[in-house]
Structure formats: C-alpha cells, structure tokens
Amino acid sequence: MQLHRESVLNPVTALSFIVLGIDRRRHLLAGEDNHLRVYDVESSRLCGQAPIFKSQSIHGICVSPCPNDRKKRQVLIWGGTSVSVVPQTLIEQLVSGDVPSRIPGEIAAPDRVLYGILSPYASGGLALLTAHNELTCFAVQADAFLWDLVMGVPWLYLGRFRHSLCDDRTIRIWDITEVRGDRSSQRIQYFQEFSAARETGFRDSLVSAAGEGQADDRCLAVAMGHASRIWHVEFSFQVMPERQFDTAALDIWSFGEDATVQKWDMSLHDLQPSMKTLESSGKPVADPKQLTRLSHQATYHNHSGKHIWSRALTWDDAYGLLIATGGSDGRILLVRASQAASRSCLNEVPLEEYSSLPHGSVTSSDSQPPTLTTTPEGTSSVPSGQPPEGQKKKKSKFRKVKETFNHFNFVSESSLLAITNSGRLFRGVFKPEISWDEVTVVPEVRESLRSYTVIASSGSTGTALIGTSSGTVYLYRDYAVPVIEPIAQVSGKVEGLFDLSRKTKYIQVSSPSDDIKPSAVSSDLPLFLVTAFGSPAAILLTLDSSMDNAQVTKTELALDKGFAVTTAAICDRHVILGSRNGRVSVLKPYQGGYSVLECQYKATTKDAITSISLLPSSTSEGIMDILMTSRDGKYRVHRISIEDEQFQGLLLHETSPPFGPVIESAWFYENTDGSKDLMLCGFRSKNFVVWNETQGREVVTADCGGAHRMFAYTPLSASSEGCRFVFTKSSQLCVFSQLQASHSTLKSGGHGREIRSVASSGPFVATGAEDTNIQLWRYKPCRDLRCITVLEKHTTGIQTLRWYEQSYLFSSGGIEEFFVWKVTPLENDHLGLAVVCEATFTDKSEIGDLRIMDFDIQLLGEDAGANSLFAITMALSDSTLQTYSYSKDNGFHLLARGSYTGACFSQLRHLSFNDSVLEILTAATDGHVGIWKAPISLALDGDDLAQYTALTISRIHQSTIKSLDIRQTSDTGCPSYLLATGGDDNAIAFSHLQQDAESGQLVFGKKHIVRPAHGAAITGVAILKSSFDQNQATVVSISNDQRVLKWRVVDWATGNAKFQLLESHHSAIADAGDLEQLSDDKVIVGGVGMEIWDPLA
C-alpha cells in the first residue's frame, strides 16, 4: 500500500543531445523533475528514465566532450546544489532495457550550480560555476586555465548579472578578445576597492568608474525582439563542424520568457578595406561597433504559456542544425534549423525529402509557360519563347495583358492543373520538384477555357472537372498524355464545382479508410456537384470514367431560393450543402432524384461554410455527425437527425483553433498506429497554416501574403506534416511544399502556466489554469493523460471546474466569468469529445469585476424541453453567495442570495437538496466553515428572492482554508460527514458533521486539527473513496512545500480519534493548485504541471 507516482508532466528544465550505442543513434537527454529521461530523436520515443536525485529537479546536463571511447564517456547532471556524474554506459542500459547498474549518489556542491562542464582532458575532472559566480574545480588534475579564471573572477552578485543582461530584453554581443593593460596591478587595485566601505547598489560606483565606460565600448551590437526576459542565448557555430562555418556560422539563437525561440543573424562587416581607405585618408579607424549588425531572422512560437527553460543544440549530418527546446508547458520541441532556413540555404540541404521549397516561385525562367503575354482580345498569339525581362515591361506599356493563371487546382497530390487567361492548360508534376508541360487542346476548347474557369478534382481517380463561362463542363483525365473532353452542359456560367468524394481523397491513397461509408449513389464513382449563376438548381454528376468514353449520369437538385452553395458533401446517401450565409441544406434521395428536407434549426454562423466532412459514428439510421469549417474562424460538429421530410441539427462542438479567421478545410490523417489526427487549414494574417488539432500544433506555415488570393493545396499522404500549397503572389504562381515541418514535437505538453483546478469524471479530466485555458484529457489507467481538446474562452485565470457526469462541464474565473459547456462523448476516436459552450453567465454585478472563487452544481430535474435543470451556487470574492437555476432553454435565474462577513470565500459545496431546501457549506479566508440553507423555489416567475441563513459558522483554521473535501459516511438515517480541510496555516483538520437529533440541522461534532502538517499552505486534500468507512479514512494532501502526504484517520467522531502519517513523498509539482481523485482512486495533482499518484499501489 505504498503511495506511488504513476506519471508526471512538468516543466522541462534541462536538455542535452547525446549519441548512444554502437550505432551512434542520436538521443536527447531531458531533465524532468528529478528524473533523467532519454528520448530517441528520430522516432520521438521515450526510451528510458531514471531518478538521478532524491527530490531535486535537474537543471543542467553536460555530456563529456571526449568523443572516442564511449565506454569512458560520462554525463554531468546538476540541479540546485546537487551534482551527479553518470557514466554513459548506464544511460545505454536504460535505453536497451537492461537492468541499469547502480545510479551514482548525489554530491552536494557548496552553492547552487549554474553551469558545469566535464574536463575533456582528465577523466572525472569537472568544473562548476555557482550562483555567486564562483568557479570551482572538482578535479584531481584540473587544468591551469580554469584555476586562473577562479582567481580572476570577482565575487559578483547573481541578481545584478541577470539584470544587466536579461531584464532589459536586449541581446548584446560583446567583444572579449583584446587584453587591456597590466592585469595584475589592475586586479590588486580592483580587490582593494572591492572590499572597501562604499555604496554597492545598481550601477555602483566601482563598476561605473572602472569598467562601465570601457565595457560599453566593447558591446558590438544590441538588438531587441523578445516581448519579455531572455533566458538563454546560443551561438550556433559552437556545435557546427568547421566546414559549415561559412553558411550559418554567425547565427545566434535566443530563448525567452515569451516562449519563443528567435534566430538572429550577426553580420560582421569586413573591416579591412574600409580601414585601409580610412587610414590612407588620415581619418580615425572605423569603429567595428558600427559595422556589426544583428538582424532578426525568424521566430518560432510553439510552446504554450510562458518560458523556454531549457535548450540544446547539435549538428546532425542529415538534418543540419538541430535545436531542442523544453518549456514550462512540459513540451519538448525540435527545430530543424536548416529546414526553416531561408532560400539561400536550401541547396545545401543534403536529403532530398527535406528539400522543401518554401518559395519555389515559378517564373518564366524555370519553365516556359506561366508568364506569357497576350493582347487583351488575345487572338491566340502564343509566343514560342519567353520574352526577356525588359521586353515584358515594354509590352505592358502597350496595354498588353500578361498571361496569368485564371485557375489552378491539384488533380492528385503530385499533379497540378493550371489554366491561363489565354485558355492554355498546363500540368505541373512534382517529382518532387515541379516540372511543367503544356496540355494540348483544340482551339475551340481553348477558346471556351479562356477568361473564366473553375476546376474541381477527384484525386482518387486522377480526374478533374473544368467548368467554363459558357456552361460547358469538361472532364480532364490525368493520363501520361492527358485527355480533355466535354461531358456536360449547364445553363449559364458555372459558378461552383464541388467534389463530393473529396473528403477521403487523399487518405485513400495511403490506406483505404472506413471513414466514409460508400454512398449508394456514387459507389466509388467520382461525384461532382455543379452550380451555375442564375440557376435555382444544382446538378449532380456521377462519372464512370473507367472506359475510354466517360459515362455521365446527371441528376438535378432543386435548391432553396438564395442558397449559394459553398461546399457540398455526401453522407449516408444524403447530400449536404453548406452555403455562403452559414445555412445547411440536406437533400434526401427521392424517386431517383433528391428532395430538400425542411431545416428545423437555426444556423450557428452567418459566415460561409467552407467544408463539410462526415465523422464516422455508429449512431442509428438517420443520424449523422458532421464537421463543418467556416469563415468565422470556427469549426463545429453538428449532429444531424433526419425524420421524414425534416432534419434537426444539434451543435455538439464548437472551437476556434489558434489561427483564422478563415478556416478553409478539415480532413483526417491516419497515423501509422491507426489513430487519426484532425487536420485543419486556413489563414492567419499573411500565412497559410495547417494545424493539427489533435496534437495541438501548427505543422505548416507558409508566407503567402494573406487569404485574398487564388490558392490550391493538397495534403500529402506520406506525412501528416506534408503539404503542397500553390498560390499567386504579385501575379506570380508560387509553390510551397514540405514533407516535414521545420519543427516537431518530441514530447507533448500541457498548460503553459499554473493549473488552478482539476476535475475528473469517468475517463475524462478537465484542467483549468492561469493561462485562461481549459484542457480536457482522456485518462487511461497506467498511461499518460492524453489531451483531447483545449477550450479557449475565458479571459482570466480559471478558478474552478466541475463536471456533471460526462455531459456538462462548468467553469468559473475572474471578472465573474462563468461558462456552461455541453459535452458529448463521440464514439469515434478522432475528436473524442465534442464540446460546445452552451451558455455564458451574464447576470453580473454592477461593475462585474468579482472573482467566482468556487461554485457547486446540483441536478434538480428537467425543464419543459427535457433539458437538465441545475442549481448553481457561486461563492464570490466580495463575500456573497448566489444560487441560480440553469437550463439550456431558460438560462440563468437567480434563486437565492447570501452574504458573509466581508471575508473572501475560498470553497463551496452543496450538501443536500431536500424538500426544496438547499444546504451548502462554505469556507473562507478567515479560516471559518459555514453551513447555510436557503429555500429554493423553482417557479421561474417567482419574484421573491430567497435569502441564505447561516446555520452554523465555525472556526477551524487560523487563515484561509485552501482545500476541502467532504464525504458522507452513511446514506441511511441521519447524515453524517467527514470534512477534511487544508489551510494556509500549514494545518490539516478533520471535522465531523452530523445531524442534530433535536433540530434536524447539521452541526459540527468533533473538530481535530493537526498542526503543522505541512511546511507550507495545503492546497489540496482528498478523502479516498475506496478505503472509506464510518470509522476509518485515508486522506492524501498536497502542499506548496512540494510534498504529498498520506494520512490515516481513525474514529474521527470520537474523543479517541487517531491520526497517523503513513507516507511522505517529494512531489514534482510546484505551486500546486488542486488535487482531485480520478475514477479509479488515483489522485491527480495540478500546479506547475501535473502528476498522478496511486495511493494504494
């Protein structure tokens, strides 16, 4: 029955690359709390871990530089004042799964270690730089150079060092090469001044007199770019092989509190020529300061919240420069710098598959066709060659129009079809570099393709449809020699062409998916919807292009008036259309055609619906879950249910991903392990973005200038990060393609700031943090928590979260923010959980700036519409209580109010709801617990407001009650409770609450307090469900002192109560905010990170 830590997710405070084993595989060593974890860089797999220190987190890792004998290589690890030297063989044992040899004990350094290195010369020699800027060598044969430094470095104050470098948010480059004057005499003088009586504050006299003036001269360049403090700066040349020096040797990488990594380029101008000219002209020599520039190159912002605490750089022959970062969100990211590099560096990338083309701009020079010129009336004067630059300009003066692309789209993931405004057709084939050839078409076809076309493709069969202004629809087949033929005619200019089988198009290439049930109509045949200007009907085209002559079946669909189709999909034989104004239309097959069903619900957006995909689910006939993306920056899941001639829609899920406001499309990517990632794409400011919603990270960022342009994209089946994106920019066609993102996640993380509330229900865990986000996780015993979704709606830190079963989640924060989230577990694994904010609390106080410190909910029954009806009681920071009724249709109605002494409430629980009387329990900053009751009248039109009356107010703690758990001992007879409270006063109290036989009211029985129980405020306490009975309870508590304690409480209701401290363990979670029991009696601690403990292991 030992308390045992099952998993932990907390800030990554140390990182270092290491090459392990005979096969010299690259691994990453990470310090996470007191454990050293080993990750395989290639596969992102956690290979092994071991505790290095007893309770100290790891702050730094240094791998010994001696490259030759791997058996002798060692790894220096430090954290706080603890130091350990671990042989590399031990780490290899961890990776191979062998039983590791004994982990070396920790050594105590005299002070906190800031940095340490192992000597490359002497085995076992190491040098430590401590927080007071003392350099200590723990070596038998430390080299003289280091000892010299020890003598030379004065005793400087850590704080001042940091202030001068980081707090002003600048990066400064210093020249430290020159040697000034007579050092020994200067040193003696310095020490004399150093210890004399004098003022030593900021910018103190000594430094400003002796060093400052000159020191400023030595600063070569200054740059600002981070929004807050900078924690680390690295030169990339430190890890690069010499042969690479010419390309990116002077890159500087900075890592900051703002959770960004920034790349800087330092240009050192060649001093020689300028100096010579200046010298000859007799003028003073140029100041190198004015010739050095730091210019900003790139910003990587992929950690959530704040802080990048750790980083590591290495050079890999295959990948180039690799940078790993560890954040306070517990995430480890890998940046492949060469991949992210600018155009000039692209040619040097050694591997073909990484040679992405961020801006492979297709200009006339690398393929003949795209920029051609033609006359406005353009009677097909096709210039055979490409006119030179100057000529082009000249022609434009003669009011000649440049030949540009009218429309383009992908036919398959490696084939692009483009049509110019002169009616010419070009095919671009990616192998993987794009190469162009022209598709020959007869003049009549060319004439009809001129000036206007739309292209839709069905990638699975390599076919595309081209719609024209005359209403003719052509079929294009992507053969070695492409074929184009007219297949249909609609009345009027073709407005839209939609591929209804598009959703599975690219996934099917790699793995046949059971995602979409083959529709009876299409039966795997390409299916397109054609709409035409001015036509009230749309036409459904089914193609059978298996034979040389394509067979086309035309079905006409009547549309509602004014319904402008923006997207279409076919789900379970029904055609679903999305419109420009957010409306959805469902058509059901009817007598060989389709009939429009009557829509019975209000559209959830007024913006255009950009895509519709079907979520697989095993729900019954006539019910389907569809995912829609929209131009309002949100994606939604609707449950559509069809009854006779009507359909109903229920909004299940609504989220704004961190880009937008334009979301173009959504699709699912099937990973190798069978799991599926929801991918979304759209625009954020000037970038085209592909976002992996399941993993919560941006995989493609392509600077294209913004959403207002023509573009086409295709995901690549080979990788979830793969994408080809074609767009026009300044009348040029540009191609972006990547197979792998420039950054990848080695380990996924959680909240970027302190977790304040944790709530669990069944397999789901909700966490709310200071970063104002709510994260929902799926918990599987003995596995790490997996984040399902992030809810971003609060604008203040979360105070409390509560579930009602697995169907409702309630959340509260500052400025009286309170949201009701409707939760629907989905049967498929792609999304896991659909969440929609059903209501926002609006009945705020006059100023609306109070914090809803805590609240509790109680199911009262059902309202008229069969929705759940809840009573919600909130405890506010101005010492008032308020109870509301809530249901989906009727919203919030105030039922009762109460007011306390002025002390801020900290906890609130509903105790019971009997005979229309609600009984609640509160705790406050004054250390008192109160029991209140109020009559609850559910008559919604009742004007009179009930008042809470305090039944009893009883002091338990000296100051704030920070945590509380209550458990009822018996259901039968008179209720009796055990109340466990943890206070800011380091004490934990166990109180007995029971019904008074005479009055029938709850009164306090014995109140026992253990003080001190912890070294600091007790922020979480839980009475374990399983081992609880009338006489005995097991309680787990967590405190700011980072210890988890397990208690046994016996006979708490009597005068012979016994309190036993069973266990005490170090917890990785600093600033713990909450402790919650999971469904299986395990407890989860949330704070700076989170960890799961098994109290009964």
Binding site: T13, S57, H59, P110, D111, H132, L158, R169, T170, F194, A196, A197, R198, E199, T200, F202, A223, G225, H226, E257, S295, H296, T299, K306, D849, L876, S877, D878, S899, Y900, T901, G902, A903, C904, T925, D926, H928, I953, S954, R955, Q958, S959, D984, D985, F1004, K1006, H1008, I1009, V1010, H1014, N1040, D1041, Q1042, R1048, K1058, F1059, Q1060, L1061, L1062, A1070
Partner: protein
C-alpha cells in the same frame, strides 16, 4: 489593472494611499508588530531591502515621531457589524478589542523615543525619510558591512576590517524579494539567498536578545530553512499578516531572542547560505540532540517500556482540538527539518486582502504616494519607446 480597479481588488492598496504609506506592505509590518510587539524597547533598527521605504516609514512614524497605529487603521467596520448580525465568532474576546480601538482613537500626545537610530539599505535609491539614514548598497556584498557599521556608529573605523558592531541593534527587518522568474525552484533559492544575506548582516549587528523579521517564500524545503534559523534564535515563528494575500507564497519569519551559538562569529567573508558551514552546524546540532533518549513509559499491562506518553489534547475556545499525529513514515536520511509555528496576524475584522470591496460612492482614486524609483524593466521600456513601440517589429528594424 487601473488604479481604481486595484482600489476595489485590494483594500490595502487603497488604505495605503489614503493613509499616506508608500506601499501597502506598511500594513504587514504594523500587523506583525501588533501580534509580536516588535517595537517594544526598540531604538536601533536596520531595515534591509527597504525601497520604496514603507517599512522605514513605519519605523520613522512609530519610533521617531512616536505615533501609534492599531487595529483601527485597517479594520473594516462593516465587517464587525455584519459579524455581529450573523452571530458569528462567538468566543472571540470582543472586550479587549474594543479597548485597543479606543486607545487608537484617542489621538493622545506623540511619544517619540530617545536615541533612535534607523539605517535603511537597498540596491535602489530610497526617497529620504525624516530621521532615517538611507544607504544604497548590496546586502550580499562584503563592502556593505563597513558601510553599515559606519552608519550605525560614526566612530567606526572602516579600515579595521572589524565585522562586528560596537553598539549592536535591537531589530533587523527585511522585506526584500527578487523579481520572480516563474521557475519556482530558482525563485525560492534567490529568496532564501536574500534571507541569508539579511541574516548574515543581522548576525553582525544584532545584539543578543534582538529580533529579526524577514520575508520568506513558503515553498519547497522551507522547513529546512526554519530549522537553520532555529540555531540562532530562541523563538522562530512564521507569520502571515491579513494584509498579505492568501494567494501569495509570501510569509514572514519572526525570530525572537537572538542567541548566537557558542563560538559562533559572524562574517560576510564566510557567509551562511553558501558553502557547507550551516549544514555542518545543523549536523552537529542534530547529533547532539539525538543523544537524548526519547521519553518512554512503562506499559502497565505488559510492563515493557514501550509506551509513548499521550500528549494532552487541548481544545480551544472554538472547539478545535489540537492533536499530534503518529508518525509511521519509513525513516530515511534527510536534511534536518522543522516547521515553525504559524501565526496569522491582524484580527479577523481586518480588511481581507483577497476580497473585493465596493468603493464608497464618490470615491476618488488617489495616486500612489511613492511610484517605483528605478524599476529594472525601466530601461527596456525606454528602449522600446525609443524604437517606436511594439516588440517584434522593432527587433527586425535594428
């Protein structure tokens, strides 16, 4: 947050402005004094990390001017009224409380003390205060000791390198805190180093029997810190004034009756908190203590000596019974830990620093008495302004 919303969110912020304090932390010292009577018979005080000077201001007004501050300064009258209405807090002795209020209200004649000497030190400049010597110095720096000794005793010869005060002081206080980074481990370390720096100076200048008050962060290993302080002082308490927010890890260590261990001599050349000196002292002390056999009683039934004496259980006026727990933890080698008794100070009628208050109608939000003199981020703000605003954009221009 604007001035006005801060007034509502933070009652003490508003009170500080209304009562002319440079910072709300003045109330923390006043509430600590109320609990521990810190200023009794005190004339010589050193205030460390004093900027912007609110604690020095308290010293100046209490010791030099002879003003008296009591509960009336921070009591919320409405709260008292509502408490009585609710019938809450029965056993609280109302009578003496009223008395104190009475005393405070009779603004009787000022009683300035004689021979008061107050020295305030900070890295940042402190605006002058009547009767207080302000020094700008780094308290971790050896050069600060002669500077301080000179300020306390003008006769002190700085060349003598003597690190002991000829006329020691009665009280050393420190409200210093670092700019926190967010890495709790580091913040706790830096705060503990500030505490050690204050302690090292205090050990040089404090008279036996003197008092030491300093800010601590109640985080990981704070119990090790308590145990270390206990070597030098007879009584060590950890106190949380009501004016310090419950949501903050801040608390104050109140050390009474300075009793330097035999043979101990303080020196900033060999400071505590760095190196092994303090750990060795702890080890020695632990070994000395463990020589005492634990008390056991004879079991009346089996006649074996295995009974631990039952601690008498005390039940206080609120019906809370204080109990000791049976420690069944597996013994393991660990640092010496000890948890100082916690005391919440400022009575429960005081304003609650966590609560929101409605401002009286027509409330005018006052300007802070003393805006920050030289915050470290000032330069960043200036540079940003110079470059034309917004980060990121300015970065690329350079």
């Amino acid at each position: 947050m604007g001035k006005s919303s801060k007034d509502k969110r933070d009652a003490y912020y508003r009170l500080a402005k209304e009562q002319g304090w440079r910072a709300r932390s003045a109330f923390k010292l006043l509430q600590l004094d109320e609990e521990f009577d810190l200023f009794a018979d005190v004339t010589r005080v050193v205030d460390l990390c004093a900027a912007p000077g609110s604690w020095s201001q308290v010293l100046s007004r209490v010791l030099i001017k002879g003003e008296k501050f009591g509960r009336a300064a921070w009591q919320n009258r409405e709260v008292k009224f509502r408490k009585q209405m609710l019938g809450v807090f029965g056993p609280v002795k109302e009578a003496p409380e009223e008395q104190v209020v009475e005393v405070d209200h009779t603004e009787d004649e000022l009683k300035p003390r004689k021979d008061v000497k107050i020295v305030s030190i900070d890295l940042q400049p402190i605006s002058p205060l009547p009767g207080i010597i302000t020094l700008r110095a780094d308290i971790t720096h050896p050069a600060t000791v002669p500077l301080l000794l000179n300020a306390l005793d003008p006769d002190y010869d700085a060349t003598s390198k003597d690190q002991k005060a000829a006329h020691p002081v009665d009280l050393v206080i420190s409200d210093g805190a670092p700019d926190v980074t967010g890495l709790h481990d580091l913040d706790i370390y830096v705060q503990s180093q500030l505490l050690f720096a204050a302690l090292n100076l205090a050990l040089c200048v404090l008279k036996p029997g003197g008092k030491f008050v300093a800010k601590i962060f109640r985080g990981k290993n704070v119990d090790v810190l308590y145990a270390q302080l206990k070597i030098f002082f007879e009584e060590v308490h950890v106190a949380k004034p009501r004016s310090s927010r419950a949501s903050s890890v801040e608390a104050f260590i109140v050390c009474l009756n300075f009793q330097p261990p035999e043979g101990f001599s303080a020196s900033l050349e060999e400071p505590l908190g760095v190196g092994y000196r303090l750990t060795d002292m702890m080890e020695e002390r632990k070994n000395a203590l463990s020589l005492e056999a634990p008390t056991v009683l004879q079991n009346p039934e089996t006649s074996t000596w295995d009974c631990v004496p039952e601690h008498s259980r005390k039940t206080d006026a609120d019906g809370v019974t204080e109990v000791e727990f049976e420690d069944l933890r597996a013994p393991e080698k660990d640092d010496v830990r000890w948890i100082a008794p916690f005391i919440a100070c400022g009575d429960l009628s005081a304003f609650d620093s966590d609560a929101s208050y409605r401002l009286p109608p027509g409330h005018v939000s006052l300007d802070p008495v003393q805006p920050p003199t030289a915050p470290p981020y000032k330069r960043a703000l200036e540079m940003r302004k110079l470059a034309g605003g917004a980060y990121g954009k300015t970065g690329t221009k350079s």
